[in-house]
C-alpha cells in the first residue's frame, strides 16, 4: 500500500466517522447508503468478477432481514403473538435485550443465508448465462411470494421489528444504526479488498472469461463459484439484518424481497459504477443514491417510470460504467500501457 492510498483510506474513514455529526439530518440516508454500497460491492463479486449475473441476491438480503428480526423477537417473546399484535406495546424490549437480540440476530442473519447460498449454489451455479439470470430472478420472486403466505412472520400484513429502546438521547437510534452499517461497510470493504489481492480473484476472473478453459486448466470451478456466492450471501444477509432494524417494518414483497427496488438497485449500482472493479460499485452506489434522493422528490409518484428509463439508458449507453469510462479516458492511471503503433493501426482501421 503506498502513501497516497493510506491517506485516501484514512480520509474516508475519518469522514465516515464524522459524517453523522457533520450532517445530523442525513443519518438515516447515510446508513442506507452504507447498506447500498455493501449490496453493490457484494453483487459485484459474482456479477462483475465471476460473470454470473444474478437477480437473486435479494433472496439473501430478505432472508437476513426476516431472520434478524425474528431472532431478536423470538429470543425473548413468543414470535407468533408478536406478529399477531402487529408490534403493539404489549411486549417491550429492554435495552439489554434489544442489543443482545440484535447481536445474535445479525450473526444468524449472516450465517444462515451463507449456508442457503451454498446449498442452492450447488444446484444453480451449473446453469450458464441467461438461464442463471432468469433462475435467480425466479428464486427472488418465489421467496417473496412464499414468505408472504407464512403466518408466523406476519404473512401479508408485515412484521414490525422491535422498536429502538429508550436510552437517554433522542438521536441514539440514528447513530447506532449508522455506526453499525458503517462498521459492516468497512468490514465488507476490507474483506473484499483482501480477497481481490489473492489468487481467488484471478480464478473468478478466469471463470468469467472462459469457464470451460478454466476447468480444463484444472480449476474446480464449481467450488470457487459456490464460495464466491457464499461470500456475497454472507454480507447481503448482514446488510438485510441492519436494514430491517433501520426501516422498522418488514413486508414480504415491498421491503424484504423487493425485486423491483433493491434487487434491481444492486445490479444497477454495480453497472453504473463499472462492474469488475473494486471502486466501481462504491462510486456507483454513491452516485445512484445521491441521484435517487435528490431527484426522487421531483418525480413524485413517477419514480418507477424514472427508474425504468434510467435502467434502459444506463444499460444501453453506459454499460461500462463510470470506472470503465475513466479507464478509457486515462488508461495510464490504471497502469495500462498503450502501444502507440497498435493504437495508430487501430485508428487507421476505423
Amino acid at each position: 500500500m503506498n502513501k497516497n492510498n493510506l491517506l485516501l483510506y484514512s480520509g474516508i474513514l475519518i469522514f465516515g466517522i464524522a459524517a453523522p455529526f457533520i450532517f445530523p439530518a442525513f443519518k438515516v440516508q447515510l446508513s442506507i447508503l452504507c447498506v447500498l454500497i455493501v449490496l453493490a460491492t457484494t453483487w459485484n463479486i459474482q456479477g462483475g468478477e465471476m460473470g454470473y449475473n444474478s437477480f437473486g441476491n435479494i433472496l439473501f438480503y430478505g432472508l437476513g432481514m426476516y431472520l434478524c428480526a425474528s431472532v431478536q423477537v423470538g429470543m425473548f417473546f413468543p414470535l407468533a403473538e408478536w406478529t399477531e399484535s402487529g408490534g403493539e406495546k404489549t411486549f417491550v424490549h429492554t435495552p439489554v435485550q434489544f442489543f443482545q437480540g440484535m447481536a445474535v440476530g445479525l450473526i444468524v442473519a449472516a450465517v444462515v443465508p451463507t449456508i442457503v447460498a451454498g446449498l442452492i449454489g450447488y444446484s444453480i451455479l451449473g446453469l450458464r448465462g441467461h438461464y442463471f439470470a432468469i433462475c435467480t430472478l425466479g428464486l427472488g420472486v418465489a421467496a417473496g411470494e412464499i414468505s408472504g403466505g407464512i403466518e408466523i412472520i406476519g404473512a401479508g400484513q408485515g412484521f414490525t421489528t422491535p422498536p429502538f429502546p429508550d436510552i437517554g438521547s433522542l438521536d441514539s437510534r440514528g447513530e447506532f444504526f449508522y455506526f453499525l452499517s458503517f462498521f459492516v461497510l468497512v468490514l465488507t470493504f476490507l474483506a473484499i479488498r483482501g480477497i481481490y489481492t489473492t489468487r481467488f480473484k484471478l480464478i473468478l476472473n478466469a471463470i468469467r472469461d472462459n469457464e470451460d478453459k478454466a476447468e480444463a486448466m484444472g480449476i474446480e470451478t464449481m467450488k470457487y463459484k459456490i464460495i464466491g456466492w457464499m461470500i456475497s450471501a454472507f454480507f447481503c444477509g448482514l446488510a438485510g439484518g441492519i436494514m430491517g432494524g433501520l426501516v422498522g417494518y418488514i413486508d414480504s414483497t415491498d421491503v424484504a424481497f423487493d425485486g423491483r427496488e433493491m434487487g434491481v438497485f444492486m445490479v444497477l449500482m454495480a453497472i453504473l459504477g463499472g462492474k469488475g472493479t473494486l471502486w466501481g460499485p462504491i462510486i456507483g452506489a454513491t452516485v445512484f443514491h445521491i441521484f435517487k434522493e435528490g431527484f426522487w422528490t421531483f418525480f413524485l409518484g413517477w419514480q418507477y417510470v424514472a427508474l425504468g428509463v434510467l435502467i434502459v439508458v444506463i444499460v444501453i449507453y453506459f454499460p461500462e460504467g463510470i470506472m470503465g469510462w475513466l479507464r478509457e479516458k486515462y488508461p495510464e492511471k490504471f497502469g495500462e500501457v498503450i502501444d502507440e503503433k497498435d493504437r495508430k493501426a487501430q485508428v487507421e482501421l476505423k
Binding site: N53, S123, I124, G126, L127, G129, H130, Y131, A133, I134, C135, L137, G138, L139, V141, A142, E145, I146, G148, G149, G156, R260, V264, V267, I271, G301, W302, Y304, V305, L307, G308, V309, L310, I311, V312, V315, I316, P319
Partner: protein, 297 residues
C-alpha cells in the same frame, strides 16, 4: 394443504379442464417468446407487461360499450406498433450485445410499463365481462365458462394462422432464415433489421391477443406481468426452441399444474409455486446436462 381434490374426482376433472384451457393461452404467449428468442436471441422480460397492456386495450373497449371480444382483433393491431416502437427505441441497440444487457434492458422496460399502466389505468383488478354464460358438463358437476372455451379456440386459431404465415409468406421465410443464420441471411439479401422489427412486432401482437383473451376470461392488474414472462420462459425451456407441439403440450401441462397447486396449496401460493417450479426445472435440467457431460468425458 388441502387434498379434497383427490377425494372428489369431479374436482380433478374441473381442475384439468380449467388448466388445459388456461395452458393454451400460456402456450400462445410462449410461442411469441420462442419466436423472438429464436430469431433475435433476446429474452424479453417485458413479455408479460405486453400481455397486460393488450388486456387493457380490450378492457377499455368494454368500458366504452364495445364487446370485449373485438379486442382480439383491435389489440394485436395496436400492440404490433407498440412492439415496433419498442424495437426501434431500445431493442435494436441491444440485439448484438451481451445477453445480460438485453435482459436488464427489457427488465427496465417492464418496470416502466408496469408503472405507466398503473398511472393510466389505476391499480384495481379488473376484468372485461363478456356475458358468454357457462357450459355445464358431467351432470352439472363441472362448470366451464364459455369465455374460456372461446379464448382457447381463438388462441388455437391464431397459432394456426401464424404457423401457416411463417411457412408460406415471404416475410415468414425471411424470419426463419434469420433464425437459422443471421449472417448468411444478410448475405443472401434479407434485410435482417426489418426482420427483427417485424418479429418483435409479431411477438407483441401475439401478446396483445393473449392479453385481450385474459382480460375476458381472467383478471388483469398492472403488476401481474412478471408471472406471465416466467411462465412463457418456462414453457420455452421445457419444449425447446422451434418445437411447436412441445410448446402447446408444456403450456397445457403448466396450466394443469397451476390449477392443482391452487387447489392443494391455496391461492396465495399459486404464483410462488410457479416460480419455484421454474427453479426446479432449471435445476433438473442442469443435472441432466451435467450427466450428459460426464458421459462425454
Amino acid at each position: 394443504m388441502d387434498f379434497m381434490v383427490f377425494q372428489y374426482p369431479m374436482i380433478s376433472v374441473q381442475a384439468c379442464l380449467d388448466g388445459i384451457l388456461l395452458g393454451i393461452l400460456f402456450a400462445l404467449i410462449a410461442y411469441g417468446m420462442a419466436l423472438q428468442w429464436g430469431v433475435m436471441n433476446i429474452i424479453n422480460i417485458a413479455q408479460g407487461d405486453l400481455v397486460i397492456l393488450g388486456g387493457y386495450i380490450a378492457y377499455f373497449m368494454y368500458l366504452y360499450g364495445i364487446h370485449p371480444a373485438w379486442g382480439v382483433i383491435v389489440s394485436p393491431i395496436i400492440m404490433y406498433f407498440v412492439g415496433i416502437a419498442i424495437y426501434k427505441l431500445v431493442i435494436n441497440k441491444v440485439v448484438d450485445r451481451d445477453l445480460f444487457i438485453s435482459i436488464l434492458a427489457t427488465f427496465g422496460i417492464s418496470i416502466l410499463f408496469m408503472q405507466l399502466m398503473n398511472f393510466a389505468f389505476g391499480a384495481d383488478v379488473v376484468l372485461a365481462n363478456s356475458d358468454y354464460g357457462t357450459t355445464m358438463l358431467f351432470n352439472n358437476n363441472v362448470v366451464l365458462p364459455n369465455s374460456k372455451i372461446f379464448s382457447a379456440f381463438i388462441s388455437i386459431l391464431f397459432a394456426i394462422c401464424l404457423v401457416i404465415y411463417m411457412k408460406k409468406s415471404k416475410l415468414g421465410r425471411a424470419i426463419r432464415a434469420t433464425a437459422q443464420n443471421a449472417r448468411a441471411a444478410k448475405i443472401l439479401g434479407v434485410d435482417t433489421e426489418k426482420v427483427y422489427a417485424a418479429t418483435f412486432g409479431i411477438n407483441a401482437a401475439l401478446c396483445g391477443v393473449a392479453g385481450a383473451l385474459i382480460s375476458i376470461t381472467f383478471t388483469i392488474h398492472p403488476y401481474m406481468g412478471l408471472p406471465y414472462t416466467i411462465r412463457s420462459f418456462m414453457i420455452v425451456i421445457i419444449a425447446g426452441l422451434g418445437n411447436l407441439p412441445g410448446v402447446a403440450m408444456s403450456g397445457m401441462g403448466l396450466g394443469v399444474f397451476e390449477e392443482f397447486a391452487d387447489y392443494i396449496l391455496g391461492t396465495e401460493f399459486r404464483i410462488g409455486s410457479v416460480f419455484l417450479l421454474l427453479v426446479l426445472i432449471l435445476v433438473y435440467r442442469r443435472f441432466k446436462l451435467s450427466r450428459k457431460r460426464e458421459y462425454l468425458k
